[in-house]
Amino acid sequence: MTPLLQVRGITKFYGARLGCRDVGFDLYPGEVMGIVGESGSGKTTLLGCLAGQIAPDAGEVLFDTRADGPRDTLTMSEPERRMLSRTDWAFVHQHARDGLRMGVSAGGNVGERLMAVGARHYGEIRGQAADWLGRVEIPDDRIDDRPTAFSGGMQQRLQIARNLVTGPRLVFMDEPTGGLDVSVQARLLDLLRGLVREMGLSAIIVTHDLAVVRLLADRLMVMKDGHVVESGLTDQVLDDPQHGYTQLLVSSVLQV
């Protein structure tokens, strides 16, 4: 089976300062990979490089496109990459307002992404938007409300609906449960797991929350100072960490 994503030697410097260095991995269809590390470890930089938002200094990101098989998204033309990010890719931001249009209704937020890929029939767009709002448990009667009138958890679920409505194959998530109440987090985790399973999605999740990756990610990469210090099965890395930094990270978690 061809990996959905093949990442090789991704390196990014900000001037003299290192963002991330020589990161590589394969991600297969249906796999969820977590990336953990403390603030400044380079995980968000890496995610930006993978999702085409930051241009790395070196490396390649081969995505298995529907039409032409694996292609390096870093050397693609800008319109091609934009098309990918509207169709096969989705990006869930930590702050919902970075991924939503705050001045547009909830239904409009979901519908807009459909229109970007060519949907034109108003009734169908609204119907699909309503269906997706239902799937992320946003009540019917809120479809015409703006996200500014939503709670943080609802905004985050709306962002997920907006991203998944076009049936992407790869979802990038940056701290998707960060800043949410634990009860809301649990509901979101359940939602994400169900969607990953039902839609056969692959996902890359950046977080500093080890409990979140344990429940959501099949595989785990641990980053420190721009380098990947350890990777493997999520439960193996968390239960039998090999690197000193991972051992410190795991032993520092507060138990509840």
Binding site: D26, Y28, E31, S183, A186, R187, L189, D190, R193, R197, R214, L215, D218, R219, S231, G232, L233, D235, Q236, D239, D240, Q242, H243, G244, Q247, L248, S251
Partner: protein, 226 residues
């Protein structure tokens, strides 16, 4: 089905002066289809450690751990995920689930992950929960709110939902009453009859004698004990 050869394990504590602690050496084991082998030895001898190594939860320092035709000691994460989905089941002592997911879904999840039809998966889950005496009114609640004994039974139901060809059981009968203990032992016997190779830890001696064909004392693999 499960074959271990010369398996060893060390823990290196990087944050405690790099202390290297050897915990297992020269471990060997063979379990055929339809056979149940008990791991014995006193607390701390390494029964759970060995079991976790077979599951790929702990990394082996050396040796071969064959489950079917996959060497767990050398497998890629992708191969391990596939092995765990289809071939190798594990009933641990603790239930770890996404909060707020209904019990019925928790138990059906291994089947859903294998692509079974939702109705059939939920029906199988319901049958197991009923056999393990989890009242139907609890099925739509999350097991995180259940008592310890109930959680353990949910864990067992989940572990037996799919007929894994290889199965690891860590104290499946601990803290169960007589009736539920009997059900669990029946499930183990049924799995054996279905051709599963089972490695188990049973402190309950009579349970061990009833379902296990052989015993392996892991003290023989503990450095400094043998």
């Amino acid at each position: 089905m499960i074959e271990l050869d010369d398996v060893s394990k060390t823990f290196t504590l990087h944050n405690q002066g790099g202390a290297v602690i050897p915990v297992m050496q020269g471990a060997g084991l063979r379990v055929a289809r339809g056979e149940c082998v008990a791991l014995t030895g006193k607390s701390g001898a390494g029964k759970s450690t060995l079991m976790r190594m077979i599951y790929g939860n702990y990394l082996a320092a050396s040796g071969r751990i064959m489950v079917g035709d996959v060497d767990v000691a050398a497998a890629t994460p992708r191969d391990m995920l596939d092995l765990r989905r289809h071939t190798l089941g594990y009933v641990s002592q603790f239930l770890r689930v996404v909060p707020r997911v209904p019990t019925l879904e928790v138990v059906a999840e291994p089947l859903l992950a294998l692509g079974h039809a939702r109705d059939a998966a939920l029906e199988r889950a319901g049958t197991l929960l009923a056999r393990l005496n989890i009242p139907e009114r609890l099925w739509q609640l999350s097991p995180t709110t259940f008592s310890g004994g109930e959680q353990q039974r949910v864990n067992i139901a989940r572990g037996f939902a799919h007929a894994y060809p290889a199965l690891l059981l860590d104290e499946p009968t601990a803290s169960l009453d007589a009736m539920n203990r009997e059900t669990v032992l029946c499930l183990v016997e049924e799995a054996k009859a279905g051709g599963a190779a089972i490695v188990g830890i049973f402190h309950d001696e009579s349970a061990r004698h009833r379902v296990c064909d052989r015993e392996i004392d892991v003290s023989g693999f503990t450095p400094g004990l043998s």
